[in-house]
């Protein structure tokens, strides 16, 4: 067993690389499972991380995802280089999507990803600069409120 204290792992995501899309989130899931984290929380982290990873693959050029863990919280941050999001409020709404036909054919592009991250996370912050990129900050509490 690895120690729970202050784990930090960085992963590179390649835009448009659909053959590997999802592998990082599955890797994160395995890491958390091995650490003995509550399976219900592991599943929530995996879903949120996968939605974020898929968005980078679908919409951005590349991204860096960081998993951080301490005894109180699990944090997933993601910074990508890409087109950015014009209207974050709109993007957060269920059903809003700019997905191409190629993306839809792969079973995505229903505009459900960002709302699903919000649903699974305890805290979700999304920031974006047009023409530069987007950043995600997703936090999960390991105990009920994140405080001891």
């Amino acid at each position: 067993m690895v120690s729970h204290h202050d784990l930090s792992r960085t992963f590179e995501i390649k835009g448009r690389d659909f053959s590997k899309a999802g592998s990082i989130s599955i890797n994160i899931k395995e890491i958390l499972r091995e650490l003995g984290i509550d399976p219900v929380i592991v599943r929530r982290v995996a879903i949120a991380s996968y939605e974020a990873e898929m968005n980078v693959v679908m919409y951005a050029n590349k991204g860096e995802m960081v998993l951080r863990l301490n005894p109180k919280v699990i944090q997933i941050t993601l910074e990508d280089e890409g087109p950015g999001i014009e209207n974050i409020e709109m993007a957060m709404q269920e059903g809003y999507t700019t997905a191409t036909d190629e993306i839809r054919e792969m079973g995505f592009g229903a505009g459900m990803g960002l709302p699903n991250i919000k649903k699974n996370a305890d805290m979700f912050e999304l920031k974006s600069t047009i023409g530069k990129g987007t950043s995600y900050n997703i936090v999960f509490y390991l105990n009920s409120k994140g405080d001891v």
Binding site: S19, G22, R43, I47, G107, F108, P115, N116, K119
Partner: protein
Amino acid sequence: MTLRELAELLEAEVICGERHLDEEFERAGASDLMSDVLAFGESGIVLLTGLANIQSIQTAEIIEAKAIVYVRGKKPSKEGISLAEKRNILILSTKLFMYKACGLLYRKGIVGVRN
């Protein structure tokens, strides 16, 4: 119902993950839209889908599905099968259409997800 009974009921071919056939399941979900599977899927369900790409296997792993059933005779690519083997997941392929496959399961008491 066991996964073996599921395979028999749907006259399905076992593509990989045979060692799981004696495990039991109670619920199933059906969709070609992975966005919906991620939003509404549950741990332990059997996932019926007509989408036999890599992402269906990745998505099944993320939501912790017990098995994937591809309908209308769909099968994953070689790449997909080796990924599924690595992920240790049971994959079945039935010639039945989605509606009939779901109907047969529902009649046997397999219900949908909780939401």
